[in-house]
């Protein structure tokens, strides 16, 4: 676990390097669904999206880190976001996907219930997360976006990695 913490903290710094690409990736979020809640992640952080595949459990990982996957030779640890958000675990089905994110130099996989789409979200549509709501979850949110009738909770992935306990 200590190793992971180190890795994750390191990755945190890398986030700022791809700022020149930000204009094109600005406002583009990948929305996905967990427990009927729509979350979003900025595309800049996303490497790839893959379907759920065989996870090799690692003995000493935290409970929400299900294990590692072998993605074209690379070993990538995967995190079950549900468990991370203290939601009950559900069995994986064919729409369950793993979003491979890039934090620093490391890649992690986020197991989500389903992916939705890539949307462009204007800044004006984003509001700060309300403080009344559950603090625990709010730490992960970078904002809340309103799209037509949908409410998208924009995740701060570093926060996911951060509050690693």
């Amino acid at each position: 676990m200590n190793n992971d913490n180190n890795d994750l903290r390191d990755l945190n710094i890398n986030k700022n390097d791809s700022s020149d690409m930000k204009t094109e990736m600005d406002g583009k979020y990948l929305t996905f669904c967990i427990d009927n809640q729509i979350f979003g992640i900025a595309i800049s952080d996303i490497v790839q999206i893959v379907s759920i595949q065989k996870i090799t459990p690692m003995p000493r990982f935290p409970s929400y880190v299900k294990g590692v996957i072998n993605l074209r030779g690379e070993i990538i640890p995967v995190i079950d976001v549900r468990l991370r958000f203290n939601k009950p675990e559900v069995p994986y089905n064919k729409v369950t996907c793993i979003i491979i994110i890039n934090i620093g130099e490391n890649q992690y996989g986020l197991i989500v219930d389903a992916v939705d789409e890539v949307v462009k979200i204007q800044d004006e549509e984003i509001t700060a997360p309300p403080t009344i709501a559950d603090n625990y979850e709010n730490d992960y949110l970078s904002g809340i976006a309103k799209l037509k009738e949908k409410v998208v909770l924009l995740l701060d992935i570093t926060a996911i990695l951060h509050n690693n306990n």
Partner: protein, 476 residues
């Protein structure tokens, strides 16, 4: 004179006369002969002293005397003979003629002529015999005439006859007998009259009964005809029933056949539906594949979008392509989803259809069972109807028998009525006949006529009123 003497006297006198005659003659003769003898003897005595002429003279004198004597005797004999003949003839005639007359008269009376009168006018026994004969015959004739006249009266029907003639001696037996007969006949006729009366009334009753019976039989006949008509009606209806039952049975069989066909079709349909199910499953699998493909394509498109975003401005076109690919993928997914929906619908419909087919099959089974029941019931109805038919046939036969019996009854009772009518008429005739007889009234002592007929005459009382049809104890 001779005639009036008794026969015995006559005979005695006759024989006396004969005897005297013969005696006289004989005596004379004998006297002569004796004298002759004496002469002869004296002659003879003298003969010796006499000359032959004297002898011759004496001889001749003797001869003459002998001849005379012989002649006297002969004459006497002849006279006696003649007299006896005459007397004999006279006496015999005096006896036989009356007796012949008597014989004649009695022959006649034997033949029935009681008026035969020997008509012998003499006072001798034969005369008296003839008198008494005549009297007897007359009496008999009288009695006979009396009886005859009474019997004639009886023959004319008058049983009230009564004879005032006194019958004497043994003749009273006849009178008693005739009286008895008349009384018997009286009784018998009275009884006959009474009986014929009863017969008449009884036969009237029988006649009316027979007529009533005839009428009853007529009513029976008409009732029987009605019954026959009703039975025929029933029979017709039963036959109709049977026909209907047969029709129903046929219909049921047809329905059963139809139902079986339906069932077969149902089964085919269910099979077809299951095949649809299978096809749908196959299609479902394919759709799933398509869905997977769409999903993967989506992910691919997302990845492409991500890469495009990361590629920055260089990835703009790629982003567009990615977008389009995502669109395509989403359309595919949409189409696949629609198709899946359709398939689900189809499956649901097929399930519905199967369920309905099953329910229909069950219903049809119930219908078949019910039809079977109906068929059985109809068979029972048929059987019952057949039994009914047979029973009705028997009833009809029975009614026919009744009918013929009734007809016979009717005919018989009519004959009976006719016969009793005849009987009635005959009884009436008998009654009238008997009424023609005049019968003496009397007390009807008892119904036991036989005893009456055998009882003696004095038991009859005198009651001589002339009323027909009543007993009379009459003194004949």
């Amino acid at each position: 004179m001779l005639r009036n003497m008794k026969i015995r006297k006559r005979l005695i006198i006759s024989f006396l006369i004969l005897a005297i005659l013969s005696a006289v003659g004989s005596i004379v003769g004998i006297g002569i002969l004796s004298s002759t003898y004496s002469n002869f003897s004296s002659a003879l005595t003298n003969a010796s002293s006499s000359s032959p002429e004297e002898i011759a003279k004496i001889n001749s004198a003797m001869c003459n005397e002998i001849n005379l004597g012989i002649a006297v005797i002969i004459i006497t004999v002849i006279i006696t003979f003649i007299v006896s003949i005459i007397i004999g003839i006279a006496i015999s005639r005096g006896i036989s003629i009356p007796i012949s007359k008597m014989l004649e008269a009695s022959r006649k009376s034997a033949k029935g002529d009681f008026t035969a009168n020997p008509d012998i006018e003499s006072n001798d026994e034969i005369g008296e015999l003839s008198l008494s004969f005549t009297k007897t015959m007359g009496t008999i004739k009288k009695y006979i005439d009396d009886i005859a006249s009474n019997l004639d009266q009886i023959a004319d029907g008058d049983f009230t006859v009564k004879s005032t003639l006194e019958y004497e001696g043994d003749f009273s037996e006849i009178k008693k007998s005739v009286q008895k007969v008349i009384a018997s006949i009286n009784n018998a006729l009275a009884l006959i009259a009474q009986t014929s009366n009863q017969v008449a009334s009884s036969s009237d009753q029988v006649s009316s009964s027979a007529q009533a019976m005839a009428q009853g039989a007529t009513e029976q006949a008409s009732s029987t005809e009605e019954l026959t008509a009703t039975i025929t009606d029933i029979s017709t209806r039963v036959k109709e029933n049977a026909t209907h039952a047969a029709n129903a049975s046929r219909n049921v069989i047809e329905v059963s056949t139809e139902i079986e066909t339906s069932n077969a079709h149902m089964n085919e349909m269910v099979e077809a539906m299951s095949q649809i199910n299978e096809s749908s499953s196959e299609i479902g699998k394919i759709i799933k594949t398509i869905e997977d493909i769409a999903f993967q394509t989506n992910i691919l498109a997302l990845n492409a979008a991500v890469e495009a975003a990361r590629a920055g401005s260089a990835g703009k076109g790629f982003a567009v392509v990615a977008d389009e690919v995502r669109n395509l993928a989403s359309k595919s997914a949409e189409a696949a989803k629609n198709t899946t929906n359709l398939i689900e619908n189809s499956l649901t419909q097929v399930e519905n259809g199967t369920r309905i087919a099953n329910e229909t099959a069950q219903s049809l089974e119930k219908v078949v069972a019910a039809a079977g029941n109906v068929s059985d019931t109809v068979k029972k109805i048929s059987e019952t109807t057949n039994n009914q038919s047979d029973a009705i046939g028997q009833v009809a036969m029975g009614v026919e028998q009744i009918s013929s019996v009734v007809q016979t009854n009717s005919a018989t009772s009519e004959e009976c009525a006719a016969a009793s009518k005849e009987l009635s008429e005959q009884a009436q005739i008998l009654y009238d006949l008997i009424n023609k007889f005049k019968i003496k009234q009397g007390n009807i002592k008892s119904a036991n006529i036989q005893n009456k007929m055998q009882s003696s005459v004095p038991s009859y009382t005198e009651d001589t009123s002339d009323a027909p049809a009543k007993f009379s104890d009459n003194k004949y």
